[in-house]
């Protein structure tokens, strides 16, 4: 109905430059204190400088990809910008095609190609070099371990998870070579992952992103093997690994994606050694600003340390690393930023024991 579309246009003009933003999320919602929250914070930060912008948070409750896209389709008419955090939203490209005047910020996935088309003028898709974050975790773990045994726990061997795993292993390897540590990466054969090409990639995979019970079993099994630091990139299943660490003595975890320090508190302290980050909020804010300034450009970006998009927690009261470790992390961070170090990722042709900068 063309008339309806016209109305929307006039409405938008009447409000002047008021940007109408929607954030559509997977079941956990914008206030999950985690992944979605970080994206939402980017919008809130933007709104501090643009007080007449509005934001509505919409939550899709099933977690199914088709449902996720449907939720976007249901509301797209009423907004100028839609922020969609999560791989579930890759299929919004079809909506973007139909709504060239709307802008989309897609986080953690590239849009699904429509025919030959992979890039869309109105979608800014950001993905992150998880292997870099994993690398920092690996270096920190190798430097901090008391038992000399560390491990990485993941959900399912999808590329993002394998990136984290190999990045972590690269980091441990790097520390062993350059900082004189002697850390061993423990892998349980029964939890080895099979990646999307059906190759066995090792690691410790829970086999699920929403099964904390099995997460705890895997965590316990690793602790039984003597592991005292676990890097956890396993979604909801990860909470089980955290619990296992809390129940054990002297075992720590490294969080991922966002600062997970608050998830680690328990009666005797905190099990979160540090968290390695994907800096989504600053990138969401950047793109919203770009929209305001008229410089917004659709693209599929793999974001790295060079734009401060990957990293680790810096605030002193949000991590438990020694000063020495922090110094070494700063050191490798610069090398990663400069591209001197390129940790191994699922499909970048490197492996944890052979990557540039090792």
């Amino acid at each position: 109905e063309p008339t309806a579309g016209d109305e929307a246009a006039t409405e938008a003009e009447a409000d002047g430059d008021a940007l109408r933003i929607a954030i559509v999320t997977s079941p956990s919602g914008v206030d999950d204190g985690s992944f979605n929250q970080d994206n939402y914070n980017g919008i809130l930060a933007f709104m501090e400088n643009h007080s007449n912008a509005t934001v509505n948070a919409i939550q899709e409750t099933t977690g199914d990809v088709a449902a996720a896209v449907q939720a976007v389709a249901d509301v797209v008419a009423d907004y100028d910008v839609i922020v969609t955090p999560g791989f579930q939203f890759a299929d919004i490209s079809s909506i973007a095609e139909d709504n060239p005047e709307k802008m989309f910020i897609l986080v953690d996935a590239n849009p699904t190609p429509q025919g030959e088309q992979e890039l869309f003028d109105n979608i800014y898709a950001m993905t992150f070099a998880e292997e870099e974050s994993g690398f920092f975790a690996g270096v920190a773990a190798a430097l901090e371990t008391e038992t000399g045994k560390v491990a990485v726990v993941n959900g399912i061997a999808f590329p993002s998870n394998v990136n984290y795993q190999w990045g972590f292993e690269s980091g441990v390897m790097y520390a062993n070579h350059h900082f004189g540590t002697d850390a061993e990466v423990v892998e349980l054969p029964s939890y080895a992952g099979t990646d999307v090409t059906n190759a066995n990639v090792g690691g410790n995979y829970i086999g699920n992103f929403a099964d904390p019970a099995t997460g705890k079993v895997v965590g316990d099994a690793l602790i039984d093997e003597g592991v005292d630091i676990m890097f956890v990139a396993a979604g909801g299943s990860g909470m089980g690994v955290f619990t296992a660490a809390m129940e054990a003595e002297g075992v720590y975890v490294i969080g991922c994606d966002v600062d997970q320090f608050d998830d680690g508190t328990y009666s005797d302290g905190n099990v979160v050694l540090t968290s390695v980050l994907k800096n989504m909020s600053i990138n969401v804010e950047r793109q919203l600003n770009a929209i305001m300034e008229g410089t917004f450009q659709g693209s599929n970006e793999l974001l790295r340390a060079d734009t401060d998009s990957t990293g680790f927690v810096l605030e002193n009261d949000r991590h438990q690393l020694s000063e020495e470790t922090m110094e070494k992390l700063e050191e490798v961070y610069e090398l990663v930023q400069a591209g001197t170090i390129v940790p191994a990722a699922n499909f970048n042709g490197h492996s944890p024991d052979n990557f540039p900068g090792l």
């Binding site: 204190g33 066995n200 086999g207 316990d220 809390m246 508190t265 005797d268």
Partner: protein
């Protein structure tokens, strides 16, 4: 590995058992209770909410946290159970339907409230209540027994409480006047009324008790699995408890055996997976172990099943 199997098996079986025990109270009084899943979840929600509130203001109470949580989980479960009890007893609703509806309500209500309360009260948006863990306890002497000693190692505080509550519930159920009246209600409520007792009150209290026990089980799972309350607690353990109690023929001791079977089949499944060293993909297959086992055992044990005679029947004083 066997240690781990015993420890984890018990830690899973006991909460499951106490939920099923709640189910026994309700069903032996004549009220079908498919609502256990929802009662368990709501109980866990209440316990977690209260403990988070208390610790927010009195952080020094941290060590007592788990006990506060268990107490309020029982209260919350009991409170939520009054809905099921009222629907089934006073509003004469179909008991199966009421149970299913309560489960649906519980999931949506706790998810909604958790989010709202975190933002409103703690100004910290989150979809869960962080609980922290309970210190685990190892019993001296007993834990030194070879192999079986594992059953006395690394125990959660809730395991002790569950055992205490279960013993009390057992005595109340099988030895006390109240228990005798309750079991009679499940067989022939008219006989109970003729004996000058109030059937509706007995049944109401039985359902409320079942809510309290389910709540206790729920908060135990919350502590032992993810150390927080989130809607992820609704993993179907309430339904599993129903299976356990039917498997246990509505008898407390048999149901304990059924719950232990589930617990050990589950931890045994994990142990099996580890020893076979198959890749993580096969986890899903080993996870089916408890259910396959149950179904097979049911084939042998169901013939003699004795459903409480008046189970599910709407009690109408005037009916002859």
């Amino acid at each position: 590995m066997i240690d781990r199997m015993i420890i984890d098996g018990l830690a899973f079986a006991l909460p499951l058992f106490i939920i099923a025990l709640g189910g026994i109270y309700s069903e032996r009084s004549g009220i079908i209770n498919l609502a256990l899943e929802g009662l368990m979840g709501f109980g866990a929600f209440s316990g977690a909410l209260v403990v988070v509130l208390v610790l927010h203001h009195f952080p020094q109470l941290q060590p007592q946290g788990i006990y506060i949580a268990m107490l309020f989980a029982m209260l919350g479960g009991a409170l939520f159970a009054t809905i099921h009890a009222s629907l089934c007893i006073y509003f004469k609703a179909n008991q199966v339907i009421s149970g299913v509806v309560i489960n649906i309500l519980s999931v949506s209500l706790t998810a909604f409230l958790t989010r709202q309360l975190n933002t409103l009260i703690f100004q910290a948006p989150s979809d869960r209540f962080q609980l922290g863990v309970a210190n685990r306890i190892t019993l001296p002497v007993l834990s030194e027994i070879p192999v079986l000693g594992a059953a006395f190692r690394n125990l959660y505080p809730f395991q002790f409480l569950i055992i205490l509550v279960a013993i009390a519930a057992y005595i109340l159920f099988n030895k006390s006047r109240y228990g005798m009246h309750l079991r009679a209600c499940g067989d022939n409520p008219h006989a109970v009324a003729a004996a000058g007792l109030d059937v509706e009150r007995i049944r109401f209290s039985a359902v409320v008790i079942s809510g309290a026990l389910a709540g206790l089980g729920g908060i135990s799972f919350a502590y032992s699995i993810s150390a927080n309350f989130s809607p992820m607690i609704y993993m179907g353990y309430g339904y599993l408890a129903i299976a356990a109690l039917i498997f246990g023929n509505w008898e407390i001791s048999n149901t304990l055996a059924a719950a232990l079977l589930f617990g050990f089949a589950r931890s045994g499944g994990y142990a099996l997976a580890r020893s076979l060293e198959m890749s993580s993909n096969f986890n899903d297959i080993t996870m089916t172990l408890p259910y396959v086992l149950t179904l097979i055992l049911l084939i042998f044990f169901s013939k003699t099943n004795r459903v409480p005679r008046s189970l599910g029947e709407i009690y109408d004083k005037g009916k002859r």
